[in-house]
């Protein structure tokens, strides 16, 4: 529910800034409540609660631009803060591309319930939260004598934000989230492998911790006896929950700031093939209860559904308002919302059976990617697969290559998207990947 005092504060700050020398201003006021419980050995390890709020400003002063934020919301403090911020902005160089977005591209205030907010948030008994965390750990008791430690965690949050642009655009967002998390550590002899699992929801009554602890332990147990194998070109099947790590390196060069700063290997690639025919991705901000659903973005631009990649052909970039003006391109949005992938018809285990020789990657370790050139190198862990059979766990290996090539080697997509994440990635199978090991 809107807190009218916060709405008024945002409106006041916008008015105060424009009355004191800012030509335009964008104000965001936000507040949140969070709580967290961590349980180990059926004892609360940590309990934490917080309430916080803040205000941030984008100032457009005589063609110059700056951004400011503070968590001191007393009006006298804010008056001084805003006035001095405006004075300081005057020393900067002019930037002709800095202005609020065109009104017609902005959110028009039409409300639509995206089912992101649980009105029961404040009425949940803290005891129930502790019980959930306790249960997550309790279900692992006696599961395996090699368990060293299982931490069960519960966390929740309730978030609100108010956006006021001096051109009249106003918006309000509220959301809640709940999650149950388990981390397990196992005695595997020389090594103490660990793994985690979690469930996250927007609504309390959809949250279940059942199986979370057990699955984290099972995942960790599977890693016992991991070996590094011979280097070579092989197939790579990436489990759905890890795909985001490599996909992010394909997404980053689509952003306006990388394109404009000449740090994108995808410059000039709209309408061109950048991946296998199997890759089709839609950015959909309107999914009910989606992790990143929204009616407007950080600039106040109205959200829209867009095709990012269709049958391997790049359809759009992520262009925020500023870089849109700088690049002379229509802005789309400066950040991704929910990414929906076109699915294949096999699950992870069927995809594994299709492999001749390769590694089923279940986690990444470090690594990076160069957005200017597409070069990447990333540590992997997972399982060695031969003729469709998982033979043993693998660790201490790297994959190395270039994003301009590897996405063309995508040969199958799973039917197993992560529907509770913003990037709803399915599992993906690649061929001809360079693995470094022994």
């Amino acid at each position: 529910m809107k807190d009218n005092k916060k709405v008024e504060l945002a409106q006041w700050a916008s008015k105060y800034a424009t009355e004191n020398g800012a030509k335009e201003v964008s104000v965001s006021v936000y507040d949140s409540k969070e709580s967290e419980v961590e349980v180990r050995k059926q004892k609360i390890e940590k309990i934490q609660e917080s309430i916080q709020s803040g205000l941030s400003l984008k100032l457009y002063v005589n063609g110059k631009y700056s951004t400011h934020s503070t968590n001191r919301l007393d009006r006298n403090d804010l008056e001084k803060f805003i006035k001095e911020a405006i004075l300081g902005t005057n020393y900067l160089a002019k930037d002709q591309y800095r202005s609020l977005p065109d009104r017609h591209l902005c959110y028009d205030g039409t409300e639509k319930d995206l089912k992101l907010f649980d009105s029961n948030y404040d009425s949940i008994d803290p005891r129930q939260k502790i019980d959930l965390a306790m249960q997550v750990e309790a279900e692992t008791t006696g599961m395996d004598e090699r368990i060293i430690s299982v931490t069960g965690s519960y966390s929740d949050g309730s978030y609100r934000s108010y956006l006021v642009l001096s051109n009249g655009v106003e918006g309000f967002k509220e959301s809640t989230s709940y999650s149950i998390d388990a981390s397990a550590s196992i005695n595997g002899g020389d090594s103490r492998p660990s793994d985690y699992y979690y469930n996250a929801t927007r609504f309390w009554d959809q949250l279940s911790g059942e199986g979370v602890g057990k699955y984290a332990v099972e995942r960790a147990l599977r890693k016992i006896g991991a070996k590094t194998i011979q280097s070579g070109k092989m197939e790579m099947l990436i489990e759905n929950r890890s795909v985001g790590r490599v996909f992010n390196s394909l997404l980053q060069p689509m952003f306006g700031y990388n394109l404009q700063q000449k740090r994108s290997f995808l410059e000039g690639k709209i309408g061109k093939k950048i991946a296998s025919d199997l890759l089709s991705i839609t950015d959909n901000p309107f999914i009910e209860s989606g992790r990143n659903s929204r009616l407007y973005d950080g600039d106040g631009l109205a959200s829209r559904k867009m095709t990012v990649i269709e049958n391997g052909i790049l359809q759009t970039y992520y262009i925020d308002d500023y870089y849109g003006k700088k690049l002379d391109m229509e802005p789309t949005t400066g950040s991704s919302s929910n990414l929906i992938f076109e699915l294949g018809d096999k699950d992870l285990s069927a995809l594994t059976k299709d492999m001749n020789e390769g590694i089923l990657v279940t986690g990444f370790n470090g690594g990076n990617s160069n957005s200017a050139t597409g070069d990447f190198s990333v540590g992997v862990e997972g399982f060695y697969v031969k003729k469709g059979e998982i033979l043993h766990p693998v660790s201490g290996m790297n994959i190395t290559g270039n994003h301009k090539e590897i996405w063309n080697n995508l040969i199958a997509i799973g039917n197993d998207p992560l529907t509770d994440r913003s990037w709803q990635t399915p599992s993906m199978l690649f061929e001809g990947v360079d693995f470094s090991g022994l």
């Binding site: 631009y65 006298n76 981390s183 550590s185 103490r192 979690y198 470090g366 160069n370 190395t400």
Partner: protein
């Protein structure tokens, strides 16, 4: 989300995730009593609008349900950034963060809450929340607060709060110009100058009250070069706990040369072959090896829970005699340096490995009590919003017996690595990685062709055992290192002499 249980990440700030902008002298004093780097305890009290009696009342509330210990951590942080893009200093910003965190410990259990409002009522309310970790009723005598005086490891001449944006702008412009002047292939340059000043007031139920002023500056350049249809980028950064006096021509020349030489080298660079090989780590930033392969696994929270691969290795020989690894909070003005840690413990120089033997974990209060040892001053937190946990400070290896030349000459077929962007470790499995932005192939004892964009992977205890040569040339790096753990980022530094590791897995290409 708490799914970072086993993964700790280190990220070097390149052109992204920049925070913080001072605009005018005395800017951001924000209605509080003005405080400076020279203020005393009474001025800190006045700044946060508290007094001894108030602190005593809040702590009494925090311990009301039987907690063993409590502390109050007041913070006022002012950060600024100024940025240059497309040859113009055309962006800037500021941030104010203000609040108090209340922590209650009961054995190894933690209750934590914070307030952004500092008043007796607001503090008592959060103290009550934190107190709920314990569940009995107990009366404590009033706490007699005594000031804990600490040394000053980060002396400055001019506070960032006294420097206007007008004074900072010319440095960004000049650095941009120097980079463009050095090479005709430079196509784009970004420059950022971030500074922050934090004022901390700390009190605990052991009767300690202390205060601290923590300055920080980061100066960062990113350069993109074009050669034909190819583009390559590189970045360089410097960051220290120091004042405005840090900015000068020499510093700008250093950064400009580093990005231009670095970007040029990328055009010549190849990917090495895939597989295990000898790796020589250059003196300086390669200390990331210690941070990832050993440092995290030595943090005592993991060992207390027995989840670290080093949990059962205390007192054991883990490396050659010439391997001594330090985590130090006292190096003057370094990024990881602290006068007191974030739970009121004097900082120190902690030997984690001495002459090849594991001698100490890195402790916070909880783990020191668990192991019945003195705390090491490693209890750190990102801000008042977080409870402290064991963290590294400046982590480095002491100089050894070998010369850099002999180390390189001893490698027949391997690589030499000098610039890094990020790393990660899995505490329990011990597998660590770090990403090499640049280096060279070593062929028959000589540095030959440049290499780029490769991830190195190894196993902590194995890599430690395989450190076979250590140079005399210890260098502590001054880059912008931020270490992430449990969702909290803290500034750190790292250092290394030239070191040879007999075997690491290099992410390369297969013939």
């Amino acid at each position: 989300m708490n799914n970072e249980f086993s993964r700790r990440e280190f990220i070097r700030t390149g052109s992204f995730s920049l925070a913080g902008m001072a605009i005018l002298p005395s800017f951001l004093s924000m209605g509080c009593n003005r405080i400076t780097e020279q203020s005393g305890l009474e001025e800190y009290y006045a700044h946060f609008n508290v007094d001894r009696e108030m602190l005593q009342k809040v702590m009494a509330e925090a311990l009301l349900r039987g907690g063993d210990y409590c502390d109050l951590y007041f913070e006022h942080s002012l950060s600024n950034y100024v940025g240059l893009q497309d040859k113009q200093v055309n962006r800037a910003g500021s941030n104010i963060d203000y609040g108090v965190g209340v922590r209650v410990l009961k054995g190894d259990q933690t209750g934590y809450a914070f307030s952004e409002e500092i008043s007796l009522d607001a503090m008592k309310k959060v103290a009550k929340t934190a107190a709920s970790i314990a569940s009995e009723s107990k009366d404590y005598p009033p706490i007699n607060l005594q000031e804990r005086v600490h040394p000053e490891f980060c002396k400055i001449k001019t506070s960032w709060e006294d420097v206007s944006i007008k004074q900072k702008i010319p440095y960004l412009q000049k650095l941009n110009d120097k980079i463009f002047d050095l090479d005709g292939k430079v196509a784009k340059v970004q420059v950022y100058l971030d500074d922050s000043s934090s004022y901390i007031l700390f009190a605990n139920s052991e009767g300690v009250v202390s205060f601290d002023y923590r300055p920080m500056v980061s100066f960062i350049a990113v350069c993109v070069m074009e050669k034909g249809d190819r583009r390559e980028d590189f970045f360089a950064s410097r960051s220290m706990r120091i004042g405005y006096e840090y900015l000068n021509e020499e510093l700008m020349d250093e950064i400009a040369n580093e990005v231009v030489v670095g970007a040029n080298k990328q055009f010549e660079a190849v990917k090495p072959k895939a597989g295990q090989m000898e790796v020589v780590l250059a003196a300086g930033g390669a200390g990331i090896l210690l941070h990832e392969a050993m440092g995290h696994a030595f943090e005592a929270d993991f060992n207390r829970k027995e989840t670290s691969i080093f949990s059962d290795k205390m007192g054991q020989k883990v490396g050659e005699d010439f391997v001594t690894i330090i985590d130090d909070g006292t190096n003057p003005n370094y990024r990881g340096t602290l006068n007191i840690d974030d739970e009121g413990i004097l900082t120190q120089k902690t030997k984690m490995v001495e002459n090849g033997v594991l001698t100490s974990y890195l402790h916070d209060r909880i783990s020191a009590k668990y192991y019945n040892v003195a705390p090491t001053g490693n209890g750190r937190r990102e801000s008042f919003r977080y409870a402290p946990i064991p963290r590294m400070r400046n982590t480095y290896m002491e100089a050894g017996p070998h010369s850099k030349e002999d180390i390189i000459a001893s490698v027949k077929d391997g690589i030499y690595v000098d610039t890094f962007t990020n790393g990660e470790v899995q505490i329990g499995a011990g597998d660590f990685t770090f990403y090499v932005k640049s280096g060279y192939l070593i062929e028959n004892g000589k540095l030959t062709q440049p290499i780029k964009d490769v991830n190195l992977i190894g196993n902590g205890p194995e890599a430690l055992r395989q450190i076979s040569m250590v140079g005399k040339d210890l260098k502590i790096d001054c880059g912008t290192g931020t270490c992430g753990k449990g969702g909290q980022g803290v500034p750190v530094s790292m250092g290394l002499p030239t070191v040879k590791v007999a075997q690491l897995t290099v992410g390369g290409v297969n013939a």
